[in-house]
Amino acid sequence: MAEMMYWQAILRAHDEEMARDPLVFAMGEDIGVAGGTYKATTGLFAKYGEQRVIDTPISENSYTGIGVGAAMLGCRPIVEIMSVNFAWLAMDQLMNNAAKVHYMSGGRIRCPFVMRVPGGTAHQLGAQHSARMEKVFMGISGLRVVTPSTPRDAYGLLKSAVRCDDPVVIIEHESMYNLKGEVPESEFFTPLEGCETVRPGTDLTIFAYNISVHWALEAAGRLSRELGIEAEVVDLRALKPLDRAGIAASVRRTHRALVVEEDEAPVGVGSEVIAILNEECFFDLDAAPVRVHARDVPIPYNRQLEKASIPNAGEVFAAARRILGK
C-alpha cells in the first residue's frame, strides 16, 4: 500500500492506461503544458506528446464531440472538463451522441468514452462554479456514472472506465484532490457497478457518495461514541446504474435509511434511493427514510451562506438521531 493524494491516483491511472494502450488519449483545457487545473495530468504531456495529451480550446461541446467520435472508431479518450459546471455546454454531445449511439445503432457502434468532471462546492466559487450535476448525468439512459470518494477509487474507477465499452462519466470533487488515502501498489480495478459498505453497522444505513461519504463516516463515528448507535455507511459509488439489490440488502439488515447528498433534493440521488427502498423493501423499514441534502438555492458566494447551503456531518448526525428517536 502506498499513500497518495486523490489527484496522484488519477494521474497514475492515466499513466498506466496510456502506457498500455496507444489508443488511450487525454484531452481538455489546460491539461497538457499546464498539467491540469488539479494536477491530475501533470507530466503526461512531456511523456506522451501533444497527439495524446491535448490542450483544447475552450469549446467544451465540440472537444467532447471529438472525443466521442474518436471513441466510435475504437480510441479510448479521457476527456477532462475543467469544472462540472462547464459540462452543461457539452451536454448535447454527451447525451445525444455518446449516451445514445450504441442503442440507436442497434448495438452496432460502441462508444468507449470517458469524461472526468470535478464537481461539488469548493470554497466560495459562486453559483456558476459550484454545480453538482449527478442528478443530470444519472438521468441519461446509456451513460454510466461513477464517483470516487477516495484516492483508491479515483484510481480504480478511472482504470475500469477506460477499459469499459460504454461511455462513463466520472464525477470527482474540487475539494478532494489533495485528500490522502491508501492505494494498493499493484494494478486493480474498482467496479463500475454495485455499492460498497465502507463501515458495517446494525442500527441504520447511511447511503452516501463522493464527499458525503466522509460526512457520513464522521457522523457514524460520533453516533457510535456518543450514543452507542452503529450506523452502516454505504458508498453508492456507481450512481448509474444504481445498485438496487445492494441498497435493499443493507436496509433489510438495518431497517432504517438515511441518504446524504451534496446536491439539492429535488430529483436527486436521495429521492432515487428512497424510491428504490419503497419498491424493493418497504416492509423491512422501521422508520420513514430521510434525506440530508443541499438547500435548493444557487450556491451563494458569501462564506457563511455557502456553508449553510450544503450539508455537513453535524446534519447527518442529527438526522440519524431523529430516525432512531434518540
Binding site: 469549446s59 461541446n61 465540440s62 471529438i66 480510441c75 442497434g106 446509456g142
Partner: protein, 328 residues
C-alpha cells in the same frame, strides 16, 4: 469515366429518387413513422462526392437526411428500408429510424438529428484516423443551416488547428428548415465562412454531377494527401419539403419550378442522351427496373421482416458482455 460508369451513376441517382419517393408513399400509408426527410433534388451531392471518395474505406457521417448517403456508402437498401419500417432486419435493428441509419461495416457512421451535431464527431473520426495512421479520411455532409451552430465554428477551429483529415461537405439548399438562408445568415456563401480558420474551401454547382465530381476529386485528394481539412460547398435545392410535415409556405412555386428545371437527374440524363450513351428507351427501362427492384425486393423485404421483440427493449443500452476487468 466510361459509358458504363456514367450509366451506373445515372442509375444511382434515379434509384435514389425512386427510393425516396417510395418512402414518401410508405409514410402516407403509415408504414413509416416519425420524421421523414427526403433527398430529391440533391442526389448529385452525396452521389457525386462519394463517387470520388472511397466508400467502405472512408468514414462518412451526416444529419437526418441520410438515406442516400448511407446507400452510396454501401449500405444495403433493404436494410435501410427495413429500418424505416422499424424492423429487426433494419440497419439499426429498428432502434434508429429514418434519421439514425448506421452501418459500421461500410463505415457509414450514422445519421444524426441534432443540427450541427456531427461536425465534432467527424473531426473525432479524423482524430482516430490520425492516431491509427491510415490513409482514410472522414467526410461530413451537412446542410447550410448547420453552420449557424457553435459546433461549426468550434470544430472548424480544432480541425484546422490539429490538421485533421476531414472533408466538410456543405449541401447548401438555401433553407434551414423553413427559413431562407438570407433571413438567418449574414454571409450566405458558406465556403467563405471557414476562411478565418484557414481551411481551404470552394463552392460549386451541386446539381450537375460532373461538376460535383470534379470539385470533389480535388477536395478528397487534398484531404487524403495533405492530411488537412477541406470545406466544399455545393449549391443545391431540395425539391420536396424539409420533412413530410412541411407546409411549403416559405417559398414560391416559381422558385421551386425554376430549380426543378435544374434537376440533377434531368441534367445528367440529357447529357448522356446528347452523347448517344443513353437512349430514351434505356432510361425508361432503367426506371422500370429500379421501381420493380424497390417494390419487389426492397419494400417487400421490409414488409415481411419481423419486428424487434419487446423482450429486447433494454438490449443495447449498454454493451452486452463488455469488459469487466474488476471481475478478473
Amino acid at each position: 469515366m466510361d459509358a458504363t460508369d456514367q450509366k451506373r451513376l445515372l442509375r444511382e441517382m434515379l434509384f435514389a429518387r425512386r427510393f425516396e419517393e417510395r418512402c414518401a408513399e410508405a409514410y402516407q400509408e403509415r408504414q413509416i413513422g416519425g420524421f421523414l426527410h427526403l433527398y430529391p433534388g440533391q442526389e448529385a451531392c452525396a452521389i457525386g462526392v462519394l463517387e470520388k471518395a472511397r466508400p467502405g474505406h472512408d468514414y462518412v457521417i451526416t444529419g437526418y437526411r441520410d438515406h442516400i448517403h448511407a446507400i452510396k456508402s454501401g449500405m444495403d437498401p433493404k436494410a435501410a428500408m427495413a429500418e424505416l419500417y422499424g424492423k429487426e432486419t433494419g440497419c439499426s435493428r429498428g432502434r434508429g429510424g429514418s434519421m439514425h441509419l448506421f452501418d459500421p461495416t461500410c463505415r457509414f457512421m450514422g445519421g444524426y438529428a441534432l443540427v450541427g451535431g456531427p461536425f465534432p464527431l467527424a473531426a473525432g473520426f479524423a482524430k482516430a484516423i490520425q492516431m491509427k495512421g491510415g490513409d482514410e479520411i472522414a467526410i461530413c455532409f451537412l446542410g447550410d443551416g448547420a453552420n449557424n451552430q457553435g459546433t461549426f465554428h468550434e470544430t472548424m477551429n480544432m480541425a484546422s488547428l490539429w490538421q485533421l483529415p476531414v472533408l466538410f461537405v456543405c449541401e447548401n439548399n438555401l433553407y434551414g428548415i423553413g427559413t431562407a438562408i438570407e433571413r438567418a445568415t449574414v454571409e450566405t456563401s458558406q465556403y467563405l465562412r471557414v476562411a478565418p480558420y484557414k481551411i481551404p474551401a470552394s463552392q460549386c454547382d451541386g446539381q450537375d454531377i460532373d461538376v460535383v465530381m470534379s470539385e470533389a476529386e480535388k477536395a478528397v485528394t487534398h484531404v487524403r494527401e495533405k492530411r488537412q481539412p477541406y470545406f466544399l460547398e455545393l449549391m443545391t435545392y431540395r425539391l420536396r419539403g424539409h420533412s413530410m410535415s412541411d407546409s411549403g409556405a416559405y417559398r414560391s412555386r416559381d422558385e421551386v419550378e425554376q430549380w426543378a428545371r435544374r434537376d440533377p437527374i434531368s441534367i445528367y440524363r440529357a447529357r448522356l442522351e446528347a452523347a448517344n450513351i443513353l437512349a430514351e428507351e434505356d432510361f425508361q427501362k432503367m426506371d422500370t427496373d429500379i421501381q420493380n427492384e424497390i417494390e419487389n425486393e426492397i419494400v417487400r423485404f421490409a414488409m415481411e421482416s419481423p419486428e424487434p421483440r419487446v423482450e429486447d427493449l433494454e438490449r443495447y443500452v449498454y454493451v452486452d458482455g463488455g469488459p469487466k476487468p474488476w471481475l478478473k
